[in-house]
Structure formats: structure tokens, C-alpha cells
Symmetry: C2
Subunit: 111 residues, 2 copies
């Protein structure tokens, strides 16, 4: 069993096209021996965003802190703590922090 | 994309040997089209516990609210919000709420 504090998990800047002020922590992943699923925590600064993109794997998302919007093919949807989001495989999606505070969400994927 | 509030997700009592005052919500699962991973939220009342058991699949756990202990083959470990736990396949484990408040944690498994 591996038990750890989120604050002890290293943080990395996420770089790439159309990504702004996004940091990632791998809360549970391959380094922990988890070879089937990876739980990540994303922190998006005020005004920041993840890329508008699509890929063939799904996301299980839980909003942890702050607020913002998630964009899919139907438009914008407000997100805040107490909400979960299932992003289907091959579904276009983007997370934007249009607030004045940090937005945090966990995003679990297959390893 | 499926977006929902945790409070809108049905709650079911978890019954079984050596389980006390545990409720489960399937936050994202097969009913949402998620056929590879399932994110559940467990609520353990003060004095309650999950079973001491083992199985061949892993758990990705994040403590959301309250406090308690998790037990593995090495003994008891305190748990509280801000902590994540990787329970390996075939590892014995039990969650106990030894506090006076509700304990909540998400637990993601393969579907």
C-alpha cells in the first residue's frame, strides 16, 4: 500500500500548443506500481486553459477546487467542486479557468 | 461528455460481512458509458468500516472528507483529506472511521 500527501507529490508545468498556465501532479501512477490506471491532479491558474483536443482514451474527472468551464462539441458548461465529468474516448474537450482563483481537478486515465 | 453533481448521484447502502455503516455512490460508471474504469465515492459513518479483505484488482483512493485509518498488513495508518492511497492487487486492506464525523473517499477501479 502506498499512502502519500498530495502536497508531497512533485508538480510539473504542462507545455504544448494552446496550453496556458497548467500544472500537473501524478498522484498515483507507474512509479507507485499502478500499471493500469493513473490519477493526475491538474492545477489551472486564473486565465489558464488545457488544450482543445481529442484522443482515443477516456477521462474520469472530479472538480476539486475553484471554478471554470469545460468545453465540448455542444458548447461551454460551468464546472465547480462537487461535480464529476466523464469525457468519452474521441470526444473533443477543453478546460478553462475563467475565474480569479486556481482551478483544480483530478483526471484519471488508463495507464 | 457527461457532467453531473455528486449530490444527484444515487446512494446505496453497502451490505456484507464485516461492513458497518458504509454507503456507496457510483460517480462515473457503466451507466455513463465508462466501460473501462469506475469511480465510486464511499461514505463511512462515525464508527463504521469497510471489510478487511483482499481481491485481485487495485484501488486508487483519494480521501475527500473526515478522517480515519486504513489498515494493511503492516498495521494502521491515519488518513485525512489531502492524501491518496494506492492499494495494490491482492493487498489486504480495510478503512475504518474512528472519528466523530463522516469519512468520505473516492475509490477508482477497473470496470
Amino acid at each position: 500500500m502506498i499512502i502519500k500527501g498530495i502536497n508531497d507529490v512533485p508538480t510539473a508545468e504542462v507545455n504544448g500548443d494552446n496550453i496556458k498556465d497548467v500544472k500537473k501532479q501524478v498522484l498515483i501512477g507507474k512509479d507507485d506500481g499502478s500499471d493500469k490506471m493513473i490519477m493526475r491532479l491538474f492545477t489551472v491558474q486564473a486565465g489558464g486553459n488545457t488544450p482543445l483536443h481529442t484522443h482515443d482514451f477516456e477521462h474520469l474527472v472530479k472538480i476539486e477546487k475553484g471554478s471554470g468551464i469545460v468545453i465540448d462539441s455542444e458548447g461551454e458548461h460551468k464546472i465547480e467542486p462537487g461535480m464529476v465529468i466523464y469525457v468519452k474516448p474521441n470526444e473533443i474537450h477543453q478546460f478553462k479557468n475563467n475565474s480569479n482563483e486556481e482551478l483544480q481537478f483530478t483526471c484519471t486515465i488508463l495507464a
